[in-house]
Symmetry: C2
Subunit: 412 residues, 2 copies
């Protein structure tokens, strides 16, 4: 076989690489399949230990042949931060948070677009379009800017305005859509041929899943070539879950790791929870119900728009991964997310609403006994809180001129 | 000698470590002095090559004895991104930008506060205060949150509101000051004894310079244990310049590097330029004058508040470093900064106004012939553009429902 080709995740049919149609005839999603014997020649624990801390350290497991096609802005090898205080509080063996907000575009989306835009460059493409709830748009805009490719981004209008504003800053043609992400996707499909756009939407091309896969490779390496017991991940389109699952299968096939696969937990927002609903339908209720919602008064609550994907491109594949891994899915409320943002802030971590949702899910799963004292758990913080900020809160912060003013304010 | 002590940067007097008074009797600044013979036992190029990519890989050159005192959120080892297109455009040998915005608090300030708060933890301190133009306040807030130390931050009211808002998110007592950073500093000095605050302002304690020093250590290691010819750095209080200078001296003393020191360029904002003015006064005009200012219409221009330090705590030391290194200082306008933000954006880089100021300075220095074709140049991007955003710009982005709407908008 070639160094890599496409293979259907459902029927295992094999095909050469192509853009724009990642669905197999059988309806399954086509993913990249590597010649692992070839990979194993240079991809060893010893060689990896000496490589530069970037997601491109895993280049044998990425679909770019020529290093000159790599479009990099400094993505990957993000910190894995341990939270020992909370291990005791929640009776967990280990608790970590993966700080994906430290990627170049301030979100985990950097990874997928580094690979997707490298593939575009490799293929000589000049225009790319994406429907996005925000961070994917800004990542396409940045990487396309770096590569000299024209980017067109279509964003539902409820997306936080700072993330929207990043896209023209990176030089992308930026449009707000009065509708959901699938409405934005429909607009791209309508114009694709006429405009010459490559659609780099979720599961529309093979690069983004491969880029997200590096989260799994990196996590395993950072943990000393082992898996955690549980991964709690905010899930919209689900390419991160698919990518990490694929990473772990590849590491097992390469003989790097022999332990059980982690239990995957998909976290969604109450009211937009196709994975939670799908799991209940498929297995008669294996998702964890969530009853811990608390009122937060009239605080301004940011929206977890990254999880707002009513129709994931391959729900069947996602459900199968969650089930195979003995994982679950859980929906959390906006109020729980706001509380969780505060808890993570007190630990020194600026979290996106989606990242905070994993914290809220962890509390609920701990409360229900789904998480066990023998569990090592990894949460994913996908972006910074500030990207989602609604300004105006600093209006409540006092303004002083002297230390006496400070004392006065302290007394109030 | 002990593993480390304080030493005056002016008269070389040596003193044991103490908080709160970093000025020597002679008026010089006290900096940390290490027993380099002791350091050299374990600090080798070979041992470093295998260490974890964090600024704490340089622990022998940081003033924390016990690893359990390290307060870390995943700081350092930020990407050094090469910009080959601009090397040709500007006739430079090499051009890199150091992406300090990828630190845990979204700015280079993470480094200094990781060490400063570790020292507080080591000393058993419970309360710390800082006067700050923004990112230092948010970094103290985050690291203090992680360490369980109470933070009090005093911020001039022209600071971007998103950065202000981060501080209460991390749990800090947050106050806006109607004045400059030295007014905020005066308030802390008034209340310090009564409140039991450790003042962690610039050059008030030894940790922040030592943390900033890791930018220099890291840069040298990322360049294969060599120095660039020129470092262009946005300069407010100047602890980054002092820290990097110190790093390079230590590396030379350890025998790691034998080449010339880099020429340091301090970048300031027109109208708040004590280093530029000081250099002109001291040497009769070695700063580079800047005539490239361009109008930018009625665009909303963010403020480079991080450079607004009218009275740097040790101007004499800063000037001496710039002069010894054959460097210079240059002031750029808000309009040049806005243009530079756009240029960096087109390269896929989200830059703070201070980071963009280094780009503007590079263009001016290239234009004047101060930068030469044999020069390798490093710029520092200190934070993300979004932290400084003034919302409302997305109002100009079109809202559509269909592909026909998109075509209509394209025609306008």
């Amino acid at each position: 076989m070639k160094q890599w080709e496409l293979q259907c995740s459902r029927c295992s049919a094999k095909l050469p690489f192509r853009y724009q149609d990642m669905k197999c005839k059988c309806g399954g999603t086509l993913l990249v399949n590597y010649d692992l014997e070839h990979v194993a020649q240079t991809f060893t624990k010893t060689s990896l230990a000496l490589r530069y801390p970037s997601m491109w350290r895993y280049h044998e497991l990425l679909p770019i042949h020529d290093p000159s096609h790599i479009v990099s802005l400094g993505e990957g090898w993000t910190p894995l931060l341990r939270l020992p205080d909370w291990e005791s509080k929640l009776s967990l063996k280990r608790l970590w948070i993966k700080r994906e907000e430290q990627n170049p575009t301030g979100s985990f989306k950097s990874r997928g677009f580094s690979v997707a835009v490298s593939l575009l460059k490799q293929a000589g493409a000049t225009k790319a379009a994406v429907p996005s709830n925000g961070n994917a748009a800004s990542a396409l805009a940045a990487y396309a800017g770096r590569a000299g490719i024209q980017a067109f981004v279509f964003i539902p209008m409820d997306c936080p305005s700072l993330i929207v504003d990043e896209c023209p800053m990176y030089g992308a043609t930026t449009v707000l859509v009065d509708g959901f992400i699938h409405d934005a996707a429909a607009i791209i499909e309508s114009g694709r041929t006429e405009q010459g756009w490559v659609n780099v939407g979720t599961l529309k091309e093979p690069g983004r899943v491969e880029g997200k896969k590096t989260m799994g490779l990196e996590l395993a390496e950072q943990l000393g070539w082992t898996f955690p017991n549980v991964i709690i991940y905010p899930t919209g389109g689900g390419s991160g879950i698919i990518g990490m699952w694929k990473a772990f299968l590849e590491l097992k096939a390469l003989g790097f790791i022999d332990c059980d696969m982690p239990r995957f937990v998909c976290v969604q927002e109450e009211g937009c929870q196709p994975i939670v609903d799908g799991l209940n339908k498929s297995l008669g209720g294996t998702s964890v119900s969530n009853t811990a919602s608390l009122p937060v008064g009239d605080r301004i609550i940011p929206n977890p728009t990254g999880m707002r994907v009513p129709n994931p491109p391959d729900l069947e594949l996602l459900l199968s991964i969650v089930e195979q891994s003995s994982g679950t899915a859980i929906a959390v409320s906006k109020e729980q997310i706001a509380q969780a943002t505060h808890s993570l802030g007190s630990e020194g971590i600026s979290s996106s609403p989606e990242g905070a949702a994993t914290w809220a899910a962890m509390l609920a799963l701990s409360d229900k006994g789904w998480l066990r004292p023998t569990d090592s758990v990894v949460l994913f913080n996908t972006s910074h809180a500030m990207k989602y900020a609604k300004l105006g809160t600093s209006a409540a912060i006092p303004i002083i001129r002297t230390y006496d003013d400070f004392m006065l304010y302290q007394d109030i």
